[in-house]
Symmetry: C2
Subunit: 229 residues, 2 copies
């Protein structure tokens, strides 16, 4: 199970949020006292759809997937270290609309929601940055819903590959770090079709593919596929 500990110093933490310094030192210390560090192993659930949020979850190290559960899962996005995992559940209606699970070994800081919100209310520069974060996250979902509801298989898989390249790995070549099933869940399609289209892209020399290792050979074609949908 997940291993629990307390932070030594949030002020000098190498993983701290880029806007944490908008708070005064005493407030950062107050966050530190409230903070619990939890280490999750790959595959472990960090938060569960339907439960209530009591803590802000800050992803210090690792990578997680945020997904909606149902008969089939829908992965909405991956989250990399240095970002808050949720926020909008804290400020909104408190019940998680999704689950979050670790894609690799992951270190999460849990900060009591009330303490964070009190501090935010007292420091509007900090709150302002939190609000910007929440807003951008909402804007991302608008794009996602538009892509998913309108594009067909090839366009959606191209979207996923471009997403991995541009937002997650920042490189033409990467280990996608997820199973075909998860890639399918990210692209809202069946696993069989994800496999099929992946092979098709490989055959057409748009990507090279070996196991989970992907190299994007013709990004312009992927972009075109994404555009025509």
């Amino acid at each position: 199970m997940a291993k629990v500990s307390k932070p030594e110093s949030c002020l000098s933490c190498p993983y701290k949020w880029k806007y944490l310094n908008l708070l005064e030192d005493k407030d950062i210390n107050s966050i530190q006292r409230s903070c619990t560090i939890i280490n999750f192993k790959k595959g472990e659930t960090i938060c569960k759809q339907g439960t209530d949020a009591t803590h802000a979850l800050y992803l210090a190290k690792g990578m997680v997937k945020l997904y909606i559960e149902g008969k089939k899962n829908l992965i909405l996005k991956l989250i990399k270290s240095g970002e808050y995992i949720d926020l909008q559940t804290l400020f909104g209606d408190k019940t998680y609309k999704y689950s979050v699970a670790a894609m690799e070994d992951t270190m999460v800081c849990m900060i009591n929601s009330e303490i964070l919100q009190d501090l935010a209310k007292q420091n509007s520069d900090y709150l302002f940055e939190l609000t910007k974060t929440i807003s951008d996250s909402g804007n991302y979902v608008y794009k996602k819903i538009s892509d998913i509801s309108r594009k067909q298989l090839r366009g959606r898989l191209a979207d996923s590959l471009l997403y991995l390249r541009n937002e997650i790995f920042n490189s033409d070549e990467f280990d996608m770090g997820m199973t075909r099933k998860e890639l399918a869940e990210l692209s809202s399609m069946s696993m069989e079709n994800a496999v099929r289209i992946l092979s098709e892209f490989k055959k057409d020399k748009i990507i090279s593919l070996e196991g989970k290792r992907i190299k994007i050979l013709q990004i312009d074609i992927l972009k075109k596929l994404s555009d025509i949908g």
Copy 2:
């Protein structure tokens, strides 16, 4: 075209936002000075996907649809009077991810974005409520993306009817105030299928239907259809 005027008194406005009073009177006056009232006729575009947001749009009177444009439109939600139309574009990356158009004659208050944000920064109770609004709007989209990507036609149309009943008209009987095409766009399906399923629901006595007038006869069945997807 849309008719433009200035507000007489935001402080005593019967349509004002329920949290406006969190601001001090001088700040409300400052909003008033920056505010322009615009009256849109049914069908007119209030904001256009792809353009940049320069003003907060507050919907004082009327009803609008917020939709993503593409080969086919996707209506994400309807917005009733007493709510901000966007916000998250203002606090996020500024470019509208969607368009908004009037479903009926509508009165919108445009407030300069910088003025609103400056006031918000100086009054964190107000900013806090704005943040809550943005968060809930994001949470709504999570539900929408989940419904749209997983349910099939009947479930999605049931969702739309329940949405109109529960969130918009608060009554079992209502004039849906939109064309079949728009109902289809709200449900992410073709117009033909929206018509077909509507007739099916009518035949099965789940709803009564005459033109745009709908009466929900068996809400439990709609809920069930929504649940099983």
